[in-house]
Amino acid sequence: MGFKIKLVPYEKFKADGVKSFMKDLKEDTIILIDAKLSPEEEADIIEKTMKKVSEKFTGIELNSLDLSKQKDVVGRLKNLIIKVVTGKNQGLTIIGPAKIVRKIERNPKELLVYI
């Protein structure tokens, strides 16, 4: 089964919400967002994608990697500055159509996508 991968900048997601990739998800596209989403944003994605569930689109697999949690002071300060300047949490979010992505497993520093 073929599929595509699309990078959606966090700024675009912030502006358009789930609309920025809903059509792509339904067309078997895996979405990458260049940030760790907030819990509220994740809940919003679950809610909005649930509204679109049908026989063809069965929902999503979602997982995030949080790269903002640094133990050293310098790292934390750097992340704070990045967050203030860019408005996003350092990390990565993967959202895949459940028909294609079976599971997304998170280890502390990596995400494993099972197709």
Partner: protein, 213 residues
């Protein structure tokens, strides 16, 4: 960024206002968690213990609870104190629902599609009801990986909304249960291992409710 801080501040204020003005009898305790973690079994256990009747139907087929159910005025007692609340059982949170999964349990195609449709609505309702809760019991299946994204999202949302919660590591009666794994996954939160089915350690959960509220 700024909007997020405003939203969080608004949630905090709303929570404090709720706590101050809400009458004690209006307290809502919600049961949240992934599908088939034993939320309704726990609701039934609490209702049987204190009201003498069950709350909802349970099933091995996922998404048996597809609507919010509420049992009003549940009063629990411990050490001479009593606590009255409305117990809210919610549909399991899921990110995917495939009607074909229900066919494996011998359901007819039409019934499976109806169940899937109702289940999606249930998930949406459960998320919407989150803001109405004064406290939440996050019911997790202790035989499964606690770091599932659904669990992380539920806990993150409770934290962000300042809603107090207890993690209930359910199904400790099963051989494959690893309540310790739940504790290791969430070291900063209160985790209580119970069996809603057998009632094991349920007293500890009741005591925790008194401590939290």
């Amino acid at each position: 960024m700024v909007l997020k801080h405003i939203r969080r501040a608004r949630n905090k204020i709303a929570f404090i206002v709720r706590k101050i003005f809400k009458k004690r009898k209006d307290i809502k305790i919600g049961l949240y968690g992934p599908v088939n973690s034993g939320k309704t079994t726990l609701a039934n256990r609490i209702c049987l213990d204190w009201l003498g009747e069950e709350m909802g139907k349970i099933s091995v087929i996922p998404h048996e609870t597809r609507e919010i159910q509420m049992k009003e005025k549940v009063t629990i007692k411990s050490n001479g104190k009593s606590l009255t609340f409305n117990l809210v059982d919610t549909p399991g949170i899921a990110t995917k629902i495939d009607f074909e999964e229900f066919l494996k349990y011998g359901m007819k195609r039409k019934d499976a599609k109806t169940r899937a449709r109702e289940a999606t609505k249930g998930v949406i309702e459960a998320i919407k009801w989150l803001d109405k809760m004064d406290m939440v019991l996050v019911v997790l299946d202790s035989t499964k990986d606690p770091l599932d994204q659904v669990n992380i999202t539920i806990l993150g949302n409770l934290d962000a909304r300042n809603i107090p919660f207890i993690i209930v590591a359910n199904k400790v009666d099963l051989k494959t249960s690893k309540a310790s794994r739940v504790r290791e996954a969430f070291p900063n939160y209160e985790v209580i291992g119970i069996s809603a089915k057998t009632g094991f350690n349920i007293e500890e959960l009741y005591n925790a409710l008194f401590r939290k509220l």
